[in-house]
Symmetry: C2
Subunit: 149 residues, 2 copies
């Protein structure tokens, strides 16, 4: 069973109130690819630029979204082990992030989880402002684990 793009959309936008409250939206999603957007409005810090926690959340969500469209969700579930974010310049507009994985990468990770019960993988992302400038860089360490049974 693979989760449909429609389910993913619901997952990404609605299922976690924390994410919903910041107005995070799906620009495009398809298997192994996701592009998400976060509005500046409502997510400003005390000096009017986008707050670090909003940028972090935008960088974190693609991990779950890619899992939902790309992995066999009947056999594995994902956890985020670690996430680092480097703030390169102030975000003064809405921002987006794109992330994708290759089929080979996904197959390799799933094969490793079949053998060991779990497999780590890294997802790196760039958050860009409306002019295409990179405002933040993220590196997440995720793990899929085989569902017991």
């Amino acid at each position: 069973m693979k989760i449909s793009a429609d389910t993913l959309k619901k997952f990404s936008e609605k299922k976690v109130a924390f994410i919903e409250r910041m107005g995070l939206g799906v620009v495009e999603s398809k298997p192994r690819y996701v592009k998400l957007k976060a509005p500046l409005e409502g997510n400003e810090n005390h000096i009017g630029i986008m707050y670090a926690g909003a940028l972090f959340t935008l960088a974190e969500v693609p991990g779950g979204a890619l899992f939902a469209t790309s992995f066999d969700t009947s056999k594995y579930y994902p956890i985020v082990k670690e996430l680092s974010i480097r703030f390169r310049r102030p975000a003064t507009t809405d921002v987006t992030i794109e992330m994708e994985m290759t089929t080979e990468e996904i197959e390799r990770i799933q094969a490793q989880a079949d053998e060991n019960g779990k497999a780590d993988y890294i997802l790196e992302g760039e958050i860009k402002d409306a002019s295409g400038e990179v405002v933040a860089l993220s590196k997440g360490i995720y793990q899929i684990r085989a569902v017991a049974g």
Copy 2:
């Protein structure tokens, strides 16, 4: 001019809507020390544990809170350059974080900013659940910069 604990309380709880929306609260704040709390309710992810972005935000806010009570805010302003968070175990209760700095550390950082216009410093934190278990560990690289003038 040092910002009062009352102002800090406002800063920490109210000034950034993103932080306010997650119900982050000040348990205790005094110069060079802050303890903050985040409720599980409203911050759950799709499987009912605290969402990563809420834990990140709880780990990030003490940097600003410590700046406001501990540094000379008429001469410097802070930025967060980078923040890593490692998720050690699921957070299934409200969580807290405590952070403190020594007078010596603050004086050293301010002296360096006086000389170079800026100074980096690291703040490490542990997020604990209601039973005192560490659920996440954070490491932030902050920088104070001298106000122009």
